[in-house]
């Protein structure tokens, strides 16, 4: 297990290198420049040349990439091309907020999805089952910006229950947390329900029942434990996705997180920020997957890790 973990950690290095390479090439291949600011007020060509030289984006692309890498290995992710901040500052400012929102949403999603998924599998066509179907249908089919704007109007404008502007107090967090959770809730409910149904029909469950075990024991230790394996698989990337923020939720609810930096940096062609945020995202995904693989072994001793 240790050997496996070490090998996986070492694999991180080439993975991140290729993510960096691909991101770098794609970002620079995209048309436009960080200094194309206002189409109706193009900067004079001499000013653009001056700015490009100032920020070193006039150099050959391989040179820029080598420079970037040599900085990145020393944890120097460079400076934004359009803003008065370093990439490290932009990330450290936004990430805690996004992570907090993401963890809240994940916990909410889990507390609703797991019981709901379990109950709806045990009692098919019950109100709980319909509720779970509704959540998974709404959560997957209606885009979060539609629900977001609708709930803002309902709770902010019509009922005056919740504030629209600002961030920080629990009242401000209710809507963004709930809407961010909805998507995760939808697929977690569906997966839980499906894998519960799958597990219930297994031979070992019949065996357990025929042994005369109490129904509760059968469900908890035999059905649920096995049904959780697919859930855990999805939970890894979902966690990484949630804590790195959602562009849509953060934009609609003015959450000062990292999710919107990601999209904004791309539209602005702010190469160092694109790189920094992408690498962070890749790193979190890899770590999340690794954690999931390790947790597998605990959930199901039959799954042997190939050392």
């Amino acid at each position: 297990m240790l050997k496996y973990t070490v090998r996986r950690v070492l694999l991180l290095i080439p993975t991140l290198f290729f993510v960096a390479l691909i991101t770098f090439v794609l970002a620079h291949a995209a048309p436009g420049s960080p200094f194309d600011k206002n189409p109706n007020r193009p900067l004079p060509a001499s000013t653009i040349a001056k700015l490009e030289a100032h920020y070193g984006v006039d150099r050959p692309i391989h040179e820029q990439f080598a420079l970037y890498l040599s900085g990145a290995v020393r944890f120097d992710f460079g400076h934004s091309l359009v803003r008065d901040r370093t990439v490290a500052e932009i990330i450290t400012q936004g990430l805690p907020t996004s992570a907090q929102l993401g963890i809240q949403a994940l916990l909410l999603a889990l507390t609703v999805a797991l019981p709901l998924g379990v109950v709806s599998a045990l009692r098919q066509n019950s109100p709980a089952d319909y509720t779970s179907m509704l959540i998974s249908t709404v959560g997957t089919t209606i885009p979060s910006f539609v629900i977001g704007i609708f709930l803002i109007y309902l709770f902010g404008v019509t009922l005056h229950w919740l504030p629209i502007v600002g961030w920080g107090t629990p009242k401000h967090m209710i809507l963004p947390t709930a809407i961010l959770a909805l998507g995760a809730m939808a697929f977690l409910t569906r997966i839980t329900r499906a894998s519960m149904l799958e597990a219930i029909r297994q031979d070992y469950v019949r065996t357990a029942r025929s042994k005369g075990l109490r129904e509760q024991v059968v469900i908890v230790t035999h059905v649920m434990k096995n049904a959780m394996i697919p859930v855990a698989t999805l939970l890894g990337p979902a966690t990484a996705g949630l804590i790195t923020g959602s562009f849509i939720i953060e934009t609609i609810f003015n959450v000062p997180g990292i999710g919107r930096e990601f999209i904004i940096s791309i539209t602005r062609r702010d190469y160092p920020v694109i790189m920094g945020v992408n690498l962070l995202y890749a790193f979190l995904i890899v770590v999340a997957n690794l954690t999931v693989d390790i947790v597998y072994g605990i959930l199901d001793p039959r799954i042997k890790v190939a050392a």
Partner: protein, 562 residues
């Protein structure tokens, strides 16, 4: 397995339906219009959109950024809200101009202070202007100061390649001199009557060298971002809000105690926040327009301070058939601008006169040369070297645009107009944005017809005619390949002319030449409608505001809401 079928409607579904009904039926009005007294502790909350990239006055180039700067700093000059002519702000009076028109001497008001109470002197202004020209600073907007002696040269030096001695020598040659703690003198490279208008701009805001050195790149954080404007920056929560407080050391009494600018990026959310009274002022998008039209209370809160931009269809002036001015003018006269606003743009004004938009010095109502007139257009084509619209030169015309839904609608509209009015088929040619940017850089590759615009930096004809249409270096002229030596001669003469009336006449003459030459077809002038709560008072807006009420911020107040 037990099966129960009690109905499909679960609790959440019911709640959602209920929510829809409630929000559809309830009126979303806030408290009724209040006409209370002036609130000395009043706070105004507005939206500034996205987080500014920088609020460094010597670097900034975006509207929201400039808006912040204009609240915290005050330039030598400001603009008269009615005429947009420069008027003294931190300067005590209009600058004294030398007989040759090359030097401008500004005298500061007595007793000026920074917001922390320390004295503000001419040295701080000189530092600000110098910093904008500095090659190390590499600000976006340095070019507006290239009229100042030595600025162009110093700015374009490469600080990595030049010796410190050479850089210092170039800096020493700058035409920015402190004559006394209250007097500052600029030396220009040529006479420029528009120079006082430039000294209203953010590029010339005063700053203390000690703050900039101490804060380094972070000098724009509240601790060191010390200005001389009506407000001081009290708090900056990045990506969330900026809080400004009344500057008690400002040269006049400031009525608002506090001003908060939140950063809502999504227009629909800002509109909701306005309706729930969480914002006092908000901009209006074309999508909000219908909700406003159907609600009389909201409609009463709507006002428009105008815009600073002019938009036009550019022609490739060096390729047939648009190498003939008569053909260009004919096309410019063959679409209905009023209908364009109604059908396509929704927000804005049809370009009734020339290139310079209404609300700006130099707007010339008598310039109706490009007026919609199909009969005249057909006559013009007859007089052109192509003779008739049946000429082969008019087949296979293309209108090129960077493909997105908004530009597509604009292009389809004009395509239809030219088809109906002139019977000419113009094909749509959407290209991806890289190809588009590359194509529109120079006239050799510029499309036959494409969409362009210009937004003024400062209110003077020089910033319209000379900056945009002078041969080669003109921002639009360079792209469409327009060149008329007569136009160039007149605008260059006007740039240097000291007599105001003569100067205006010259620019008007140039404007008419431009409309007749029709390097582009003027389409519309933009607008900036805003919603404002009835308790917000004392706002004087101008067309060039970066922040609402920019030119007279200290007069804004709110009334007591209870």
């Amino acid at each position: 397995m037990t099966q129960r079928r009690k109905g499909i409607w679960s609790v959440p579904a019911f709640l959602m339906i209920l929510g829809l009904i409630v929000s559809a039926c309830t009126s979303t009005q806030g408290p009724e219009a209040q006409t209370g007294d002036y609130d000395p502790n009043g706070e105004l909350i507005t939206n500034m959109g996205s987080e500014p990239d920088t609020i460094d006055p010597h670097k900034a180039s975006f509207l929201g950024e400039i808006g912040v700067i204009m609240q915290v700093f005050e330039g030598l000059m400001s603009l008269d809200p009615k005429t947009l002519k420069p008027i003294p702000a931190a300067a005590a009076k209009d600058p004294e101009v030398s007989a040759d028109g090359l030097t401008y001497k500004y005298t500061l008001r007595d007793g000026l202070k920074f917001s922390d109470g320390t004295a503000l002197t001419a040295k701080d202004f000189a530092y600000g202007y110098t910093r904008t020209c500095s090659p190390q600073n590499a600000g976006d907007y340095a070019f507006v100061l290239f009229i100042v002696k030595g600025c162009d040269k110093w700015y374009h030096m490469d600080p990595k390649k030049e010796t410190p001695a050479a850089l210092d020598a170039a800096k020493a040659e700058l035409g920015i001199k402190v004559l006394s703690p209250k007097e500052l003198e600029f030396t220009l490279i040529e006479p420029a009557a528009y120079f006082p208008s430039i000294t209203y701009m953010w590029v010339g805001m005063p700053a203390r060298e000690s703050d900039v050195t101490k804060g380094g790149e972070k000098w724009t954080e509240p601790a060191t971002y010390i200005g001389n404007g009506p407000f001081r920056l009290a708090e900056w929560k990045h990506n969330e809000r900026m809080v400004f407080e009344r500057n008690t050391n400002y040269r006049q009494e400031v009525k608002l105690k506090k001003k908060t600018q939140v950063m809502i990026v999504e227009g629909a959310v800002a509109f909701a926040a306005y309706r729930s009274n969480e914002l006092d002022i908000t901009g209006v998008s074309a999508e909000d327009q219908r909700a406003i039209d159907s609600d009389p209370a909201l409609k009463a809160q709507l006002s428009d301070s105008g815009g600073s931009c002019s938009f036009y269809y550019g022609f490739n002036n060096v390729k047939p058939p648009f190498d003939d001015a008569k053909v260009r003018l004919a096309f410019a006269k063959s679409f209905d601008r009023e209908a364009y606003i109604k059908d396509v743009q929704k927000i804005g004004q049809p370009a009734k006169a020339g290139f310079i938009r209404h609300g700006f010095p130099g707007y010339d109502e008598t310039d109706t040369i490009q007026k919609f007139d199909v009969a005249a257009a057909k006559t013009l084509v007859g007089q052109s070297k192509y003779g008739a619209l049946t000429n082969a030169a008019f087949s296979g015309l293309k209108i090129t645009y960077s493909s997105n839904a908004r530009t597509k609608a604009r292009m389809e509209w004009v395509q239809q107009q030219w088809k109906n009015n002139l019977g000419v088929d113009v094909a749509l040619d959407p290209v991806d944005s890289t190809a588009y940017t590359a194509l529109t850089k120079k006239p050799e590759t510029t499309p036959q017809i494409f969409f362009l615009g210009w937004c003024a930096d400062f209110p003077d004809q020089q910033n319209w005619h000379t900056t945009v249409w002078i041969t080669k270096s003109g921002i639009s002229a360079g792209r469409v390949g327009y060149s008329n030596p007569e136009f160039d001669k007149i605008v260059r003469e006007a740039d240097k002319e000291k007599d105001k009336a003569k100067r205006d006449d010259l620019y008007n003459k140039a404007g008419k030449i431009l409309s007749t030459d029709a390097p582009a077809a003027w389409v519309y002038y933009d607008a900036s409608p805003v919603l404002r709560k009835p308790w917000v008072k004392g706002i004087t807006s101008t067309a060039i505001d970066s922040v609402t009420g920019q030119m007279r911020l200290w007069e804004i107040y709110v009334t007591k809401k209870s």
